[in-house]
Amino acid sequence: MATPVIQTDKLTKRFGDFVATNEITFDVQPGEIFGFLGANGAGKTTAMRMLCGLSIPSAGQARVAGFDVYKQTEQIKRNIGYMSQKFSLYEDLTVLENINFFGGIYGLSNADIKTKSEALIGRLGLQGEAKKLVGSLPLGWKQKLSFSVGILHQPKIVFLDEPTGGVDPVTRRQFWNLIYEAAHEGITIFVTTHYMDEAEYCNRISIMVDGKIQALDTPQALKQKFNAASMDDVFYQLARGAKRSE
């Protein structure tokens, strides 16, 4: 087995007395689609922010793409992509301008940016919209664009925080196709979601309850273990006992 791209050991984040993430330990293998599930307030986003180098852990260890989350956050940032819950491309820039900007920030060469943006626009079928302001696109397109921009620099891992919130089932399916393509190219996918059908698309999933990881396995194995017909049931059995929720 290759060295894991994400390794955590008792990773913990406290805000005052509140333990948002409590000693979580897991590995993610290269090329894997790793589903990171949990009820609202379970601590998913906090954990993800620590792994992206946006938040310094309170205790425990973690390495992302081989770099330490305490000291090497800048190296981590070179090797990851990130797409947050809040849509975060610039709405007052056009599609092309956004691609150019983020490509430039990651230090891609001009020629590289040009070929990549052409490929990206072709893949998403945005030829007619390339010069339109991102703010004027429908949400589903924005999400797909946001994901594509997030992996423009071919990161080792891409973190997706509830990427398909609020979009229709067809768009969600298209979005997952993009994810599969990326995984096929060797990019590790780390994704949080509330849709249990999406959880089934993952290679492995972990389920967080009250800041702790309560279950971690393939969807198949989890269903067997909890004797459940669907992931919905698995999730329900675990999350029912949660003390904190919104």
């Binding site: 922010r49 992206c52 180098g53 946006l54 938040s55 310094i56 956050t73 800048e74 940032k77 070179r78 990851i80 992509g81 990130y82 947050s84 809040k86 849509f87 975060s88 491309l89 610039y90 709405e91 007052d92 820039l93 301008e97 150019n100 900007f101 983020f102 490509g103 430039g104 920030i105 990651y106 230090g107 302001l133 973190f159």
Partner: protein, 372 residues
């Protein structure tokens, strides 16, 4: 360097796409520079004067005539007694009441001395001070004329007389606008630079794009520079527009070298933008940033010597104003525009402002956290 280019491209595109900001940058300084000096006129003229002449002699009437024709005063009433005149002061219809007592002419000639009474509405200190001073000097002049008229000059010249000749340098006509316009331009440049830079980063925080920037390997100082440079350019544009407007509307052409002005404003803008960025690193919402900026701007402007002189402030306040970047710009603007001061003359000011620029921007970079 290359990353910086991408950042700048993005910022400029966003600025030019935002109509309301562009309007603010171009229209606001023009309108304000035209309007404000018209309104912000401290020149004390048209002081409302009410006369209580109880003498009704030719001497008293001539005195009143001389005051009325001086151009500083507007006669708003004649009343028979002070008691009748006072309500005019209560309603602000009279700023000054001049009371000439009965027997004024007779006593002046017979007893060589006569008092007259002046009551000043002193709620507005400046007006009271200057109004009183103008009136006193007119009375002094009249007194002199009166003497010359009644005595042979030779006899009068027995006493030593010191003749005082005064001159007003740099602004011989005492044009108040020459004083206000450079100051107001300084304020405009400060406001535009300060508010725009403070709101900008906070806006990215509010809409969440900063999160996306923070997961990129972008260096902190690149990011700050990317924010700084566009607004620095805009600040210079506003400044240039302001100079043109003050030339067209008020005929004010800097006596000193334009290059000195631009060098100083260039460094100054760095300081102000740095302050704006610093404020933005402390705030989460645009509303907060706006209020905090407003709070500091108010202190800076009030204590910057725009309306009242810094020399006259108490020691502790003068100490505070040393840490007020706005006061340096207002002073230097007036020095260069009106007095023609050169780079050597303003070296102290330049040094201080450069120091602010370094400290404020350094602080902003340190305080801008990519991680929490």
């Amino acid at each position: 360097m290359r990353t910086l280019r991408f950042l700048l491209q993005k910022e400029f595109k966003q600025i030019f796409r935002n109509r309301s900001i562009l309007v603010m940058i171009v229209v606001m300084p023009v309108v304000q520079l035209i309007l404000l000096p018209l309104a912000a006129n401290y020149e004390v003229k048209n002081i409302n004067l009410c006369v209580v002449d109880r003498d009704h002699s030719s001497t008293s009437q001539k005195l009143v005539g001389k005051i009325a024709s001086s151009g500083y005063f507007k006669l708003t009433g004649n009343r028979a007694t002070f008691k009748e005149a006072f309500p005019l002061m209560e309603t602000d219809e009279a700023d000054l009441i001049l009371e000439i007592p009965a027997g004024f002419e007779r006593n002046l000639v017979r007893e060589d001395e006569q008092k007259i009474f002046v009551a000043v509405n002193a709620i507005n200190g400046t007006k009271a001070n200057l109004g009183g001073a103008y009136l006193a000097s007119i009375i002094r002049d009249y007194n002199h004329d009166f003497r010359v008229q009644w005595i042979q000059p030779s006899a009068f010249n027995q006493n030593p007389v010191i003749d005082v000749s005064s001159s007003n340098w740099f602004n011989p006509l005492l044009n108040y606008r020459m004083f206000m316009v450079p100051g107001i331009l300084a304020i405009l440049v400060t406001m535009i630079g300060g508010f725009l830079s403070a709101l900008n980063i906070v806006k990215e925080k509010e809409i969440g794009t900063i999160e996306q920037i923070n997961v990129t390997p972008l260096r902190k100082h690149h990011f700050i520079l990317g924010k700084l440079i566009p607004f620095w350019v805009l600040g210079n544009v506003v400044f240039t527009i302001g100079l043109v407007v003050s030339w067209i509307f008020y005929g004010i052409v800097p006596v000193g070298n334009l290059a000195v002005l631009y060098v100083f404003v260039g460094v100054y803008l760095l300081a102000v933008l740095g302050f704006g960025l610093l404020v933005s690193t402390f705030c989460d919402t645009q509303q907060q940033a706006m209020f905090i900026m407003y709070f500091f701007m108010m202190i800076f402007i009030l204590m910057g010597g725009l309306f009242t002189s810094i020399d006259s402030m108490p020691g502790w306040a003068q100490m505070i104003s040393r840490f007020n970047p706005v006061s340096y710009l207002i002073t230097v603007m007036r020095m260069v525009v009106l007095k023609g001061s050169d780079l050597h003359d303003v070296r102290m000011h330049l040094g201080m402002v450069a120091l602010f620029a370094v400290v404020l921007n350094g602080w902003a970079v340190l305080n801008y956290k990519k991680t929490s």
